[in-house]
């Protein structure tokens, strides 16, 4: 039986972790080793926006040690990720470069949405009942060091996901130095949390009744479970969480640390985390809270196992990303019929062009999301929808997408209606390679869009196929498609420019 050994390094706000996994189809994903080293990156990053050289030195030393350990396990495949602390540090480029030079480790900085998605993947891949749980309205609360992510599920699908700047380390940093009575501590924490949660409630929760709460956070949930006592199941009655909150509020840190078998530093993060869970719990009618015992590293391993097709995961994660995109479109009142048709058509074009564009599943997803969101800017301005769509996408969390991918989507949407510029004149953060993909996908989106220029879905039963170096688009319609035909021809020029293939539109009038 083949076993793939995989290492994951996570540069977190509070500690550096490395987890080693044995992945096999027979035994699934087995954690073999977990090495931790507390390095207070977050303290630096959140308060001074930069990581000091002293901390960097220590970090490199620890990472070198991690490399040695991986060598010991004869690991060839590993993935190193970094989260909010590095993300928020202004000197992150230098930090990452130093890490590369000194340790040889290429660290990938996860965008918040990627990070949350991976974490969510870890949770979803752990429980075969996950799909069942989210049939009813469910809040998925992931409390991190710098921020928290609240995702809402209903009827098996992701409704929305929002990032709020409330994190355990961040809240603890606010409390630091204040010598507070219990009542004062309670008041300040509540005030800090209340405001954000209320806003979230007003905009996203509305009158939806939340029935389940999934509380996660690495390693916070671990700590909470530890205080609750050994052998606790992962499902905890809401009441017990409330009681725990009261207990921790009154407990001296030293005592708490003893109970957790952890340092006082780690213990100080528990109350802020509990405050967030409790505050959200207060807004729901959830009777049970699920606190699954997973780490971000678990998620990276699950993601790897999934991508390498060693392990099959039950839940359809791509569908989550699409659902999230659909909900964004809905929020900005996009024309649902139009975007739906667009989504179908561009996918057809994409699939029939496989040999010519050489792009994969991920790019197809980006194209799909672009189709779903290509219209959202109209919510703000009818005259410059391209720019507005671009801005909306750039400031929206799309779970599962990296910041780079999000920018690609935003640009595809923008260039749908605006002229494309050469890479040299492009102003943004995309690599040349990514920009090339943007160009290719833009050509597809434009062509697709032209087929429903009038937004009336005149054409039915659209068939797309490659014939004699031509992209043949046949559609059934009795209606007048002069507008569409004109638009199609215009877009075909750009299309030909990119692919060297001329799209041809054929109308079939035969059918009723």
């Amino acid at each position: 039986m083949a076993v793939t050994r995989f290492g994951v390094i996570n540069i977190g706000a509070h500690e550096l972790d490395m987890e080693i996994y044995d992945i096999s189809s027979a035994r699934g994903i087995q954690k073999v080793d977990h090495i931790r080293h507390l390095v207070p990156l977050g303290k630096d990053a959140y308060s001074t926006q930069s990581i000091s050289f002293q901390v960097l030195d220590e970090m490199c030393r620890v990472l070198q040690g991690f490399m040695e350990i991986m060598k010991g396990y004869r690991i060839t495949a590993y993935s190193a990720i970094a989260t909010s602390a590095i993300r928020e540090a202004e000197n992150s480029t230098i930090v990452l470069d130093q890490i590369r030079v000194r340790t040889g480790i290429e660290v990938k900085v996860l965008s918040n949405s990627e990070q949350r998605f991976i974490y969510y993947k870890a949770v979803a891949s752990r429980e075969t009942n996950f799909n069942k749980i989210i049939e009813k309205a469910t809040a998925f609360v992931d409390v991190g060091a710098g921020s928290s992510q609240i995702s809402l599920f209903d009827k098996k699908h992701l409704i929305t996901t929002q990032n709020i700047k409330l994190g355990a380390v961040r809240l603890q940093e606010r409390l630091r130095g204040m010598d507070l009575e219990i009542s004062g501590k309670r008041r300040i924490l509540n005030e800090l949390v209340d405001n954000e949660i209320q806003t979230f409630h007003k905009h996203f929760l509305k009158d939806r009744e939340i029935r389940h709460l999934i509380a996660v956070g690495d390693p916070l949930v671990y700590y909470v479970r530890k205080i609750l006592g050994e052998g606790e199941s992962e499902w905890i009655p809401a009441q017990q969480l409330q009681q725990l909150y009261e207990r921790v509020m009154k407990m001296p840190l030293g005592e708490l640390a003893d109970q957790m078998d952890q340092t006082v530093e780690s213990a100080s993060l528990v109350l802020p985390a509990l405050t967030i869970y409790k505050r959200i719990l207060d807004d729901t009618s959830a009777e049970m809270v699920w606190m699954p015992n997973v780490s971000l590293c678990n998620g990276v391993a699950a993601d790897y196992a999934d991508k390498k097709k060693i392990v099959r995961l039950e839940h359809d994660f791509t569908e989550d990303i699409l659902m999230a995109a659909r909900n964004i479109a809905k929020r900005y009142m996009s024309n649902k019929n139009h975007t739906q048709m667009m989504e179908e058509v561009v996918c057809q074009i994409f699939d029939s062009m496989k040999k010519y564009h050489g792009l994969g599943k991920r790019e197809r997803l980006l194209l799909q999301i672009s189709a779903l969101l290509h219209d959202c800017g109209k919510y703000i301005s009818m005259s410059v929808p391209g720019e507005c769509s671009y801005n909306i996408i750039m400031s929206t969390e799309i779970i599962g997408l990296s910041h780079m991918e999000r920018e690609m989507v935003a640009n595809i949407v923008r260039f749908n209606t605006k002229d494309m510029v050469s890479y040299e004149r492009f102003q943004g953060h995309l690599t040349e390679k990514a920009y090339l993909i943007v160009m290719k996908l833009t050509a597809l989106l434009r062509l697709g869009n032209s087929l429903d220029r009038s937004h009336k879905q005149k054409m039915k039963n659209i068939k797309i196929a490659m014939r004699n170096q031509q992209l043949l688009v046949t559609a059934d319609t009795q209606e007048d498609i002069t507008l569409e035909r004109k638009s199609f021809d215009e877009k075909a020029d750009f299309f030909e420019e990119i692919y060297g293939i001329r799209p041809v539109l054929k109308q079939k009038r035969g059918a009723k």
Binding site: M1, V3, R5, E15, I20, D22, S24, A26, R27, Q30, V32, D33, H34, I35, R36, H37, L38, V62, G65, E68, K71, G72, Y73, R74, P219, Y222, K226, D258, D261, Q262
Partner: protein, 720 residues
């Protein structure tokens, strides 16, 4: 409530308790039922024990006095008071040591045909000629006599060396034969001090040709006899052996020692220079000579021991080695094979079939050596990690580790440089391992790594599998034949994870999020023990059966003792087997009436630590490296591990049961603080160590030890 379990009168001073332990060893030397040569061995042990006690404990008390540290100990005694009391008790102890030697052992040796010639004056003419020739040929060339006068200061006298001091007078005209006469005539001559070290490179015991039996004389007597040859232009007025001990405690500041290795090497050199804390001299020493030594060595009367016999009785261990006297020794015990291990299979296959329990020295230590040896050449092994505290000379384990590194395995070894008196030894191994390519960690700042753990990581077909050995004794194949210790070989996943976490911590990474099975000092162990003691207390309070049985080397932790008192007061039945120091007092009304303490001093050194908690019928059994001492719980890396397999658990419980029934080698602590042998009248004699020897033999032969567990063999029949 309201009982203060911490009152000083509830505790015994640890030094005095230790001296009691040494008394128990001395009792073995005085035990007429023991073979003569075994008695010599025990007397030798009391002597080396005492040396270490001085260098470590007395020295540290002296340091406290110098630092004007006045805080009383657990029993309410200040360092100064302790030193006074120790001196008083030890003077009596030494007297008993030498009366044992002179009155019991020497005559018995003579009877058995071993003549120890106690002074050179007793040599026959032929014997005298022999030793003089021996002196001239072998001794004289390596002697370095040193005289003190105005131009030559008092020389450095090395720690623990044997020396001969002499008063010498310049020959006035070469004709004077008897210098003593000069004094009688009132002609006070100027006397100089001279000293010569009895060379440690030569054997202390010199065999003298004898027509009947064996005759031996000690080297210092031969030198004394010939001392005039060292100071040719002088008359030797008197010459007497003396010996000093110095403060040897390595109390260096770890925060400042950038390189621990260098610092220890430096300390080793400095150790010779430590304050003199004990002077032993011949009881007939010349008063003038003693006065001079006292002044030069700067030592008080209470630290001077006048000895009626040879200084430093550890030479008796050499005497034990004399060939041809096997009938006067306990037959050498050969550790038995472990029946649970199938020699046809690799050690890893054996472990996969189930946890393996090892009981040394009754069972052989070979599986542990094999474990590392096989790992070193096994192509599936990725890594070997081990803690080494004290290793034997020529250790096969060290050799296997070096080989593993050469074979490309990742080998991490934590060598504890701070293992007392073994530093020199440890540094040599450490360097050798480094050369072989092992990753050597030299201990942790401020903590001694005392845990005994080995982890082998194997890359198997279905992924990583970890094999772990956990023990109560050091990885020392030599002492494993003499010390009673327990070990466990397992590939239990949870223990494997913990073992990895231990080594991650030892290499400087943070603690794991949680421990599955192991309890680790200094962070978690104390609380774990206290929690388990409290749990028994609560069970007793709730009217349930509650019981604690614990076996260890020393018990002197105040908090643990207080918890035991509290548990006893609540009705927990507590039986302790404590070989050495025990600061707990039994029979305190309302406090420790439910506690029994016994000490076993036998042929093997009791060394294993086993802890049993009834836990309302669940019966938790643990073994580990830690005693209930503050230093073990707070200043060391120690591991406590559970024995969960029912069969193995019963084996461990059986060990405790047999030891609690021992009525041959066990002494029971009485409320008056004295230890007494168990009243054996009307009882079957049970010698726990002998019982385990027999059982080990039975299991080797494949007989079910459980069936025979109750068949005790009276000791007499074995001594035949």
């Amino acid at each position: 409530m309201g009982v203060d379990y911490y009152k000083p009168e509830y505790y015994r001073n640890r030094e005095l308790s230790w001296i009691q332990f040494n008394y128990r060893v001395l009792e073995e030397a005085r035990d007429k039922t023991l073979p003569l040569f075994e008695r010599l061995k025990f007397l030798s042990i009391t002597s080396s024990n005492l040396d270490e006690f001085f260098m470590v404990r007395v020295a540290s008390l002296k340091d406290m006095v110098h630092a004007e540290y006045k805080k009383p100990d657990i029993a309410g005694m200040t360092p100064e008071v302790q030193l006074e009391k120790i001196s008083e008790v030890l003077h009596e102890f030494v007297t008993l040591q030498y009366s044992t030697y002179n009155r019991s052992l020497l005559p018995l040796l003579e009877q058995e045909g071993v003549r120890v010639i106690t002074s050179h004056e007793k040599l026959t003419r032929e014997e005298g000629a022999f030793v003089d020739r021996y002196f001239q040929e072998s001794v004289y060339p390596v002697l370095t006599p040193m005289a003190v006068d105005s131009s030559r200061p008092f020389p450095l006298i090395r720690n623990k060396t044997l020396n001969i001091a002499a008063l010498i007078a310049k020959k006035s005209d070469g004709g004077e034969k008897n210098p003593e006469k000069n004094q009688e005539k009132g002609q006070e001559k100027h006397l100089d001090f001279a000293t010569v070290q009895v060379p440690s490179v030569l054997p202390r015991i010199v065999r003298v040709p004898s027509k009947t039996g064996v005759a031996v004389i000690l080297l210092e007597e031969i030198i004394e006899r010939n001392i005039a040859k060292l100071f040719l232009n002088y008359d030797v007025v008197c010459a007497h052996p003396y010996r000093i001990e110095r403060n040897a405690d390595l109390s260096f500041d770890e925060d400042e020692a950038a390189d621990l290795l260098k610092e220890i090497q430096k300390q080793l050199k400095r150790r010779q220079w430590g304050e003199v804390i004990k002077l032993e001299v011949d009881e007939h020493v010349d008063k003038r000579l003693l006065k001079l030594l006292k002044k030069e060595l700067n030592i008080k009367d209470q630290d001077i021991y006048k000895i009626s016999g040879p200084l430093d009785l550890t030479f008796l261990m050499k005497l034990y080695g004399l060939e041809g006297f096997d009938h006067l020794k306990v037959p050498k015990y050969v550790p038995k094979k472990v029946a649970a291990i199938d020699p046809e299979l690799s050690i890893f296959e054996n472990i996969r079939r189930g946890d393996i329990f090892l009981h040394h020295p009754y069972q052989t230590f070979d599986p542990v050596v094999d474990f590392i040896r096989q790992a070193s050449v096994d192509p599936h092994v990725l890594a070997i990690k081990q803690t080494l505290y004290r290793v034997s000379g020529n250790s096969p384990i060290i050799a296997a580790l070096a080989k593993a590194a050469e074979n490309g395995k990742q080998v991490s070894v934590l060598v504890e440089l701070k293992a007392r008196f073994d530093e020199e030894n440890n540094i040599i191994w450490a360097k050798m391992l480094e050369k072989a390519g092992c990753h050597v960690i030299y201990g942790l700042l401020g903590l001694k790594t005392h845990s005994k753990i080995t982890l082998v990581v194997r890359d198997e077909e279905d992924g990583i599998r970890r094999y772990v050995h956990l023990g109560t004794g050091n990885y020392n194949d030599a002492t494993a034949k003499l010390y009673t210790d327990c070990g466990l070989l397992t590939c239990n996943r949870a223990i494997g994870e913990d073992a990895t976490a231990v080594f991650n911590m030892l290499s400087g990474y943070s603690e794991p999020l949680a421990w599955n099975k192991l309890a680790v000092a200094p962070l978690w162990l104390r609380n774990r023990f206290l929690a388990m003691i409290h749990r028994e207390r609560d069970h007793a309070k709730a009217g349930k059966k509650a019981r604690i049985v614990a076996k260890m080397n020393s018990l002197c932790d105040r908090e643990i003792i207080a918890a035991l008192y509290e548990a006893s007061a609540a009705g927990v039945k507590i039986d302790l087997v404590v070989r050495g120091i025990c600061c707990l007092k039994v029979g305190l009304p309302g406090i420790s009436e439910n506690i029994s303490v016994r000490s076993i001093v036998g042929n093997f050194l009791e060394h294993s630590r086993i802890f049993y908690f009834y836990n309302n019928g669940e019966e938790n059994v643990y073994m580990g490296s830690a005693d209930w001492m503050p230093r073990n719980l707070d200043k060391r890396v120690e591991i406590l591990f559970p024995v969960e397999n029912e069969k193995l658990k019963n084996q461990v419980i059986h060990i405790l049961e047999v030891e609690l029934e021992d009525n041959v080698k066990a002494r029971v602590l009485k409320p008056d603080g004295e230890y007494e042998r168990v009243d054996k009248r009307g009882k079957v004699l049970i010698n726990s160590q002998e019982t385990f020897c027999v059982e080990a033999e039975q299991q080797e032969k494949g007989e079910n030890p459980e069936e025979h567990a109750r068949v005790f063999i009276p000791m007499e029949s074995i001594d035949e």
